[in-house]
């Protein structure tokens, strides 16, 4: 309790201050960092692995690894950027194990033309998400994003779901900015193409094709 008050007095709410305190062995400070980012890390891990058990393991292992390697965190980037990078690597490793496929990587299927040229050009219903109940919509969104390659869905999740910048995403994934942009475009177009079958307008003309 005393430690918490002391940190409050020092205005230690900033991420960097928490990291510095954790580096010196303050476990409460690290616990605050876990609470700050656990939801994000869980979401990212679930999106990559599509397996709740694996996602739970990724959350635990990513935070433990971050804690064990805090000394190596230089503070040149944000702690969160560094943490996501660890989590993405852990998640890809679990995906490889689960698929028994060592080739799973962020580069998989990058050259695909799938979705690059829109085939589905029928307009959607005005409020497509209202066509389905919450859980049905959730199932559609999960099924659809699961169809993307790991590289595409990881970029989409970081940029569009988590709202990170292209620059941050590039740093987290060790990709160039043009590579992030081209994966994001493909991911967005592929998702759009696949969602069209659930959301396109049923009213006459275009939707009836």
């Amino acid at each position: 309790m005393e430690a918490i008050q002391k940190r409050a007095e020092e205005g230690i709410n900033s991420e960097l201050a928490l990291v510095q305190a954790a580096k010196k062995g303050d476990l409460e400070a690290f616990s605050d960092l876990v609470r700050r980012y656990d939801r994000n890390i869980f979401r990212i891990a679930q999106h990559i692995t599509h397996n709740e058990e694996d996602a739970q393991d990724v959350v635990q292992d990513a935070f433990l690894k971050a804690y064990q390697n805090l000394d190596q965190f230089q503070g040149n980037s944000k702690f969160y950027t560094w943490l996501v990078r660890i989590a993405v690597n852990e998640a890809l490793m679990r995906l490889r194990r689960r698929r028994n496929d060592r080739t799973v990587s962020l580069d998989e299927d990058v050259e695909t033309e799938d979705g690059a040229i829109p085939r589905e050009v029928a307009d959607w219903s005005p409020n497509p998400e209202q066509l389905y109940g919450t859980s049905e919509l959730g199932d559609i969104l999960k099924k659809t994003i699961q169809g993307l390659s790991p590289g595409f869905r990881t970029v989409f999740v970081l940029r569009d779901v988590e709202g990170l910048s292209t620059e941050e995403t590039a740093e987290m994934l060790g990709l160039s900015i043009p590579a992030v942009k081209s994966r994001l475009l493909r991911a967005r177009l592929q998702l759009r193409e696949r969602l069209a079958k659930y959301f396109k307008s049923k009213k006459g003309g275009d939707g009836q094709r």
């Binding site: 609470r35 656990d38 635990q60 050009v121 969104l141 779901v161 475009l185």
Partner: protein, 85 residues
């Protein structure tokens, strides 16, 4: 501007990361090309749907359990570090 060129700029267009002159060109294309207009609108909707409907939320009870497990492991690592010094 051709549809293919429009598509190449779609991501920056939706993210608002383009110059005014390029935006004007893209808007001009959208004005007469119905197909690109639909693709742009439905891509925008795709992003909004995924952003507004978080499909993998961490339930509170699982969050508590994970937090305890993480901190137990970190405490173990911390003790290990201290005893090795």
């Amino acid at each position: 501007m051709k549809c293919k060129e429009f598509l190449q700029e779609l991501t920056d267009y939706l993210d608002g990361k383009i110059s005014d002159s390029l935006r004007a060109e893209l808007d001009e294309h959208l004005h007469w090309c119905h197909e690109c207009h639909v693709v742009m609108n439905t891509t925008k909707k795709t992003i909004e749907i995924y952003r507004d409907n978080q499909i993998y939320e961490l339930p509170d009870d699982l969050r508590t359990r994970l937090h305890q497990a993480i901190m137990t492991k970190c405490r173990g690592a911390h003790q290990g570090k201290k005893s090795s010094h």
